[in-house]
Amino acid sequence: MPRPLSLFAWILVALTGAGAFALLALHQGETISAAWVLVAAFCTWVIGYRFYSRIISDRIFALDPARATPAVRFNDGHDFVPTNPWVVFGHHFAAIAGAGPLVGPILAAQFGYLPGTIWIIVGVVLAGAVQDFVILCGSLRLDGKSLGQLADEHIGPVAGWVTLLSILAILSILIAVLGMVVVNAMAESPWSTVTVGLTIPIAMLMGIWMRLIRPGRVLEASFIGVVLLFAALGAGWWVHHLPAGDALRASLTFGAETRLMPLLGAIQGRELMAWLIIIYGFIAAVLPVWLLLAPRDYLSAFVKIGTIGLLAAGIFVVLPDLHMPAVVQLATDGHKVLADAVAAGDGPVLSGKLLPFAFITIACGAISGFHALISSGTTPKLLANEGHARAIAYGGMLMEAFVAIMALIAACALTPGVYFAMNTPAAALGGTPELAAAKIATWGFTVSAEELTALAKGVGEDSILSKTGGAPTLAVGMALIFDQLTKGLGDLKAFWYHFAIMFEALFILTTVDAGTRVGRFVFQDVAGRVWKPLGDASRLWATCLGSAAVVAGWGWFLIAGIRDPNGGIRMLWPLFGIANQLLAAVALCVGTAMIIRLGKVRWAWITILPLCWLLFITETAGWQKLTDPSPKVSFVQSAAKRERDAAALEAQAAADPALAEKSAKQAKVLRQLAFNDQLDAVLCALFMLIIVVVAVDGARASFKHLGRSG
């Protein structure tokens, strides 16, 4: 294209994007078309890709297609393999895209559609994609080394150890939170439980097929697996339609009922499901990879990419209207009670104020530290040409941001009444559609009990109330969009809802499997330095011990979250966000030190800018989690309140023998919850300290280098 024409075209793209942003921000009506979100996103991303990413590829790393990559230099046919760029892109995207970009935006929708939209669209260009791309380039230049090794090389051994510690911490919180999302999605839903449960034998059958019956026939096994997944949906449907009193249906409905179990004693259905996931995580980490993890990964990757493609098509065809206010805390007209609660950090879905918690809640989709592990893991060992790095790392992250935007659209396309009915914990909402509708009316949104009941029936559930965790909300949003696509085939909302739940649970469980196994490797790596046999992966007892340690780490948080009457997601998701952003801060520190060592100090702002932002939001969020006066926000205040309540109950028990047993029991639960809060507070403080240590260590290493070179 001639230069003036090209310039004109780019100016037009920029103006269109700016116009879409202005419309989104200033719109006064009740609804706004999702098309404007998509226009703002695409205009910003094409400009970011075309111009901003070029600074990294051309000015900083001077990527050269003729320079031999680690995959070419160390080609061993196993770990280092020069691979077609489309194939590398597929691997990279399948590895970075998980539940985070889907769940985070759904939860952050409580702040309105605008904060999440701006953070995802702008954050990915200036922060997330920069991190992924810089770390990939750094790893390419250092023989495909990992993030920990890069930290050790460019900053020092302290940063190397801190990175290892961060990975273990983030894995524990991440798996616990994702486990909780699955429990909340499957609780009281035999259809979901049966479908998701059947994915385990399906994956094992695929494993046996690929390993023993028809070795290496991956596509054949995947095809069989996908067909069986649809059969599993049918089996779930069959169980769901059994009479209410049927024993099979009842045993597969994990809700608030109490069950008597060997070893566990009297236990609530939801907690039993959490224990089943913990046991599953342990077994999956110990079983041979080919039997469960690898085939599940294939199944999950195919379903993930297919469903994301379908959702994109659905959103482009349907172009739903967004019903959520732009910024909830500014929507005082009729919504004052809710606006005040959200502004005070006591929102019904998430605790914490818009700034910084909207930026913590949406991690993957805008920036995720975990991606640095992928960018310095498999991807640099497969890349055959440096020139492809930009499309794979920067482009891959833009694609993930698109997934996050779709999730946000799906959540905001629901009426706010339905959104809050699904995402507010039962303790705050009341247990019936009538109570929920009345509560939501006080927030200025209209939804009737009949509407809530009809929607639940429509998606094949007994109730959609308090289905917290984000996954069921996304499933309802997706079901409504897909149902419009397949209108001609009749009412398929229930099918699409359970398909979406299966899709989410499938790759969440893959993350649980893979995360536990990777956590075990890290644990054995560290433990092996203390006592060598502990690090020996060929010893079954060492493997079991390592897996048990990792499972105990995340299992503890999972059970604590399930028992929390205010909803574990509400408290734990922000902690997960802080942990994830902590790893991102580590990665950006490494990136900055790397850029300075390359002698490109004048371009170091490209990583320093997002690093400063992350330091600000993570430290502010951590500070508020420790010092905010509200027990709804602060772990410390929450622990103190629970301790006071427990003491009051114990006093009551002492004064009134008739209430002694009940009060003592409640006091014991409260003391346990207070201990959980205290532990969360300690972890939060540790994360804050780690960020400061890495930032100071990174600055020290960079200034030392500048002093030497200059």
């Binding site: 046919g77 196993h78 770990d79 691979t83 077609n84 489309w86 194939v87 597929g90 691997h91 590895a95 970075i96 895209a97 998980g98 539940a99 985070g100 991440l174 994702l178 494993g207 690929m210 390993r211 023993l212 070795p215 290496g216 026939r217 991956v218 596509l219 995947s222 041979p288 990879v289 080919w290 993890l293 690898a294 990964d297 294939y298 991690a363 993957c364 995720s368 975990f370 991606h371 592990l373 992928i374 893991g377 498999t378 790759f507 893959t510 993350t511 893979a514 995360g515 196994r517 990777v518 490797f521 997960f576 994830n580």
Partner: protein
């Protein structure tokens, strides 16, 4: 048709369906014994289990 075949080949590569064929093509004639398909895929899947999956 050419594009479809290319897509199919990329899909096989991405999924690892043709990994053994590529291994044989790469290692044949190097004088060392080749792994059987079963041995090769045991190793292939074990390596797959070491990869992290993001949130």
């Amino acid at each position: 048709m050419g594009r479809l075949a290319r897509f199919w080949n990329l899909l096989r590569w991405w999924s690892g369906d043709d990994a053994y064929e590529r291994y044989c093509a790469e290692h044949r004639g190097h004088g060392h014994a080749l792994l059987t398909k079963r041995e090769f895929y045991r190793d292939y899947f074990n390596r797959a289990g070491r990869k992290p999956r993001c949130c």
